[in-house]
Subunit: 299 residues, 2 copies
């Protein structure tokens, strides 16, 4: 019998005192089959190999406008000014992310529960799912700063106690993603390789890591090895396109000096068979608006 | 009779106290014809329209290795450590540029004088040419910082007294330029439009402007207008590819968090009929390793 107690064994030791070897994961990226949802067998095979799937025109212009409007509304909401769910740019004070948007926006709550989205998430993780984290991200024009290379799962495992990489993230572009306006770079196939990070997690690390990550950052040598092995792709596409990606894929983004801002909706669907335990490499849990511990399946 | 005295009339007022209108330039980008050199009539027509020309495989792998070796040799030369021609990254101290490389490297001096290069430069500016500025640039992997949007001619006019945009720059890639490793972005056609900058030039501005430009920077509104009008292209291509570009084209580059460093040789060929006068918008001339005042035609 599998319980949370046995899955709490630490299969991905990280935040180590000295550099550790890469771990080639035993778990698949895709847990379901073509019979379980809208993705075809070849879609799922490609997702398993590359660790991500891009769908152009995933949502239409009306929905892009709807969710963009929600971003503007939340960014302008004076009652949220000191809310911990609002993350601002370190240098300019501009809103960079709004977390837990399913609780702040009926439209985004409905999006997460829409079978058009939910069936795909369930199919990839092979079970019912719940929302581990949601946010709207905004990268301003001219002064947008990127995110350095990282695996989301490394953080979620170390700081949130997510046992294994059995979760899938959905990023929906609300603006056009060009190759030159700070779009996401991914290393196709890198989701198979877990890169242990060096260095103990500072207390209350999330208070700065959401502006610029410092703990859990892979070494230059590790990034070079992964890039040589897997190469680098960019997520480009018009507003409305979607990127489904594995929680352990190595990704990052450069800065944005163009006049074209970038924003997106980001939702993480975790398997209800992979719910959080105590953090594997941090002294305390992160707040629930960053790492949800309400595991009720989405319906 | 045209002399330097009459061409010293300030046709491009800049570093103004208040924002000025764009100036649509009267001068062509291309002054020669197909009979004058290796570029065909359609090559020249395209250069006139777009303000730049990309040539793949402009130099071969042996030459790429030769010039890369010169960069490494100069960056490691202890006798150049405190030489003003060596520009380092503000944060890391890594060599960012080496100026006046034709005087530091016989190989690069020979490159500038090679008819394969020189005939193209002469053809574009329609006269004999001399070197206004040369450098090798190095953008490191992981921590490379870009250059914000600017027109080279705006600086050369304001700070060096270059009368009109009758010069052409050659950038030869010594490393592969991907869309994602901090490569050059250009706005095709923007060379036709001169954007006056706001703000007086600080004294000894070049002492910091070569690390990160602050004076002569176009406003967000101006960049947005130009981008809407002209769009943004990227200079991508393998090591050995060349970019010939007009001195007034609006260009910039983002940062580089990839494991792929970027380096290039950069040479500016100015017409001997467009030699420098006193700076149009600065109190003193810049040093000659940045703005050469030895106008002998290259042979």
């Amino acid at each position: 019998m599998t319980t949370n107690t046995t899955t709490a064994e630490d299969l991905f030791p990280t935040r180590l005192a000295t550099p550790g070897d890469f771990i080639e994961r035993a778990q698949p990226a895709v847990w379901g089959s073509a019979d379980d949802g809208p993705f075809t067998a070849s879609d799922l095979e490609a997702h398993e190999q590359r660790g991500f799937t891009i769908i152009d025109d995933f949502i239409g212009a009306d929905d892009v406008a709807l969710y963009s409007g929600e971003l503007d509304r939340l960014a302008a909401d004076a009652s949220l000014k000191d809310d911990p769910r609002m993350i601002t740019e370190r240098t300019t004070g501009t809103v960079r992310s709004v977390f837990e948007v399913e609780k702040l926006s009926e439209a985004l709550d409905a999006l997460a529960r829409n079978p058009y989205v939910l069936d795909r998430a369930r199919q990839i993780v092979g079970s019912e799912v719940y929302l581990h984290q949601t946010r709207i991200n905004y990268m301003p024009s001219f002064t947008g700063t990127g995110f350095y290379w990282h695996s989301d799962f490394e953080t979620w495992h170390a700081e949130d106690g997510m046992p294994i990489p059995r979760s899938v993230s959905l990023s929906i572009a609300l603006t056009d993603n060009y190759p030159f306006n700070g779009g996401l770079m991914v290393m196709p196939g890198s989701h198979r390789t877990f890169v242990p990070a060096v260095g103990e997690t500072p207390e209350n690390n999330h208070e700065q890591s959401l502006q610029a990550q410092e703990a859990g950052v892979p070494s230059h040598a590790a990034i070079t090895t992964l890039a040589d092995r897997y190469g680098i792709d960019q997520f480009t596409g018009a507003a409305g396109s979607a990127l489904w990606f594995d929680s352990n894929i190595m990704h990052g983004s450069g800065n944005n000096i163009t006049p074209y801002a970038r924003s997106n909706v980001f939702m993480v669907f975790n398997s209800v068979e992979n719910t959080l335990v105590e953090p594997f490499a941090a002294k305390a849990q992160r707040p629930e608006h960053i790492a949800n511990r309400e595991f009720t399946p989405l319906r």
